[in-house]
Assembly symmetry: C2
Homo-oligomer: 375 residues x 2
């Protein structure tokens, strides 16, 4: 292991982030100056705990606990629904034609009525190979869900004042405990507000980039057929590769040993930061931090969150990050997916590069009747 890298991981914790897996908690919102001085400038996360000062300013935290309210408000709305067989989209999954290697699989995205989306989320069942997640990272809260705009702050005022501009995008996320977001980073300053249910984040600072084992994976997409009720995982054509984090913080017990030997820097390095964001709480997730997200639903089975993406500055911190990432990853005993593997995949016929995942269940039939707009 490269001792310089290990020192870096330790030093950033000792100097600034703390050496426990806990994230700092604030009980009152920071002023814009405090936010800039202590958090944004330092690329340091915090949780704004639920309190009178925060929760009560969000009508959504009470209104959105009623599905009837949401269905009524969004009765005429069309939303983007992400469909996968497992709840894992934008994540690594066995390569369709070479199950010993991995590809990067995106969800099937379908435009549907909000009520069909809720039905699909409620009917989601991993053992039946069908999980739905209402989300779209394209400012969907202000677009598709515009009818709910009055229920949340349209921006996070102290962040807006500090950063000097409104959010670039505001996204809504409605799902349940089946949906999981794999480790990745965003080029945004992220204010992540949970409205109902809970979100569980595993976080690593950008300085830990080598612990993520970012590798190039062939891009694939699930295609869902309403007729056959099956998912087909297909490589993109023309073939494209995506750099993605290889580490899963929650491997199945039977894979744990293999994962630990394949990703020793992750498993042997400092413990990742962990935080549960509850209803009415906000996480400041600084730009470039790696994050993995799971969720626990409220008592009706839904988790709803709104996140505000603000422009990040591409400054000296970003230049440092790029330099760090450009350094060779420490060698491991295992053979990573190489460019050669990727090229192999490309040479196979596209017909071969797909796997079918059969889905059975009542909800599929309803979906077939819905007037979906293909994307």
């Amino acid at each position: 292991m490269n001792p310089n890298l290990e020192n870096l991981w330790e030093e950033v914790r000792e100097l600034s982030l703390g050496t426990t897996p806990q994230i700092e908690r604030l009980h009152t919102p920071p002023t814009p100056l405090q936010f800039l001085r202590h958090y944004l400038s330092q690329n340091k996360p915090f949780i704004l705990s639920a309190s009178v000062a925060t929760t009560l300013q969000w009508p959504a935290t009470t209104l959105w606990t009623s599905t009837t309210y949401l269905l009524r408000a969004l009765a005429s709305s069309t939303v983007s629904l992400h469909l996968t067989p497992t709840g894992q989209a934008d994540s690594l999954t066995p390569h369709p034609s070479n199950p010993n290697s991995l590809c990067f699989a995106s969800a099937h995205v379908q435009r549907t009525s909000f009520s069909d989306a809720i039905d699909a989320i409620n009917a989601s069942n991993r053992s039946e190979g069908f999980v739905a997640y209402a989300q779209q990272q394209n400012d969907c809260f202000r677009e598709e869900y515009g009818a709910l705009a009055g229920d949340c702050d349209s921006h996070v005022s102290w962040a807006t004042e500090a950063i000097g501009g409104l959010p670039d995008a505001v996204n809504l996320w409605i799902g349940n405990d089946l949906s999981e977001t794999s480790f990745h980073k965003d080029h945004y300053e992220n204010l992540y507000a949970v409205v109902t249910g809970e979100k569980h984040f595993v976080l690593l600072p950008p300085t830990d980039v080598h612990r993520m084992y970012i590798r190039e994976y062939p891009a694939a997409k699930y295609n869902y057929s309403q007729e056959t009720e099956e998912f087909k995982l297909e490589l993109e054509n023309p073939l494209r590769t995506v750099p993605w984090c290889s580490v899963n913080p929650y491997p199945l017990a039977e894979n744990k040993e293999k994962e630990m030997s394949e990703f020793p820097l992750y498993y042997n390095g400092p413990k990742p930061f962990e935080v549960t964001v509850k209803a009415g709480e906000i996480l400041y997730l600084p730009s470039m931090w790696f994050h993995h997200v799971r969720q626990t639903p409220d008592n009706r089975g839904l988790t709803i969150a709104v996140n505000y993406w603000y422009d990040m500055q591409f400054d000296i911190k970003y230049a440092y990050f790029n330099f760090l990432q450009s350094l060779p990853a420490p060698k491991t005993s295992q053979n990573p997916l190489t460019k050669e593997n990727v090229r192999d995949g490309d040479e196979k016929h596209r017909e071969e590069s797909a796997i079918l995942i059969e889905r059975r269940g009542a909800w599929g039939e309803n979906m077939m009747q819905a007037s979906w707009i293909g994307i």
Copy 2:
């Protein structure tokens, strides 16, 4: 040359600092939020140009052009005077016992009356081997020069509000064109205000650390004898080494070729940033930036400046810097001063580790009559 390092130097300029040697100029003071957002957080310098909004708020910019005023205000003050044979203190100079290698030489520091200090500065003459500089980086403006406190702002209000605290130290600098400060960095956010004359800065961002060729040099000190009017350069005992920048941005013409071949990363890399700070102007010199300073006096022969040192945050930027600095410097054709050289020096007798620099001149005689308090 390491291509990763070259990319880093270029990228930080392209993203944030600009690709010319110019520093950004502001014509009105930033708000605290603007200062944090655009400069401190990004570790990016700027000049606040002289204007109604800045200059006129400083009584010092008119009052201090009168030496009579200063002498009267400080009639009973004792100040720290830095004495060197060349005007170069805290800089590299030939090793006292091995002129083919270098040591890190500090000034002789003498406490004296302010009027003697002014006499010494006025009498400074490099060809006669005596240069005086009234300065002390220990909050001297608020201590030794407390009588002048009313003439300047006691802090820089937008910086104080942004940083959330008053300066840790405020220093006064009175010298002339003979004094030069060699490349170094400080662990402070620095607001550098010129009151009379001009200061000329050469600046490099922390990401350029390998271009400075920081090496360990044996620490030495000038000792000035009033009786013999001579400087004696003596190694510290016990021997101590100091990491210091090896590059001089203004080598003598006859040394230029040798310097260029010894320090190719400095000479072949991106052009350093250059800025002249005029009377009434303030330079924000971010923490960890390497800076070399020369000065041009006003029409009576003095340059006077006040600098405000604010606490820096030891955050992710600092951790990145330390990591970067820990990486091996690219190899050069020349042989650097090694630990072995340093140890060689230690083995010699202390008596041998001194060189005498004779000084002749009228001012020396005056000095002998002065009631100096030795430090």
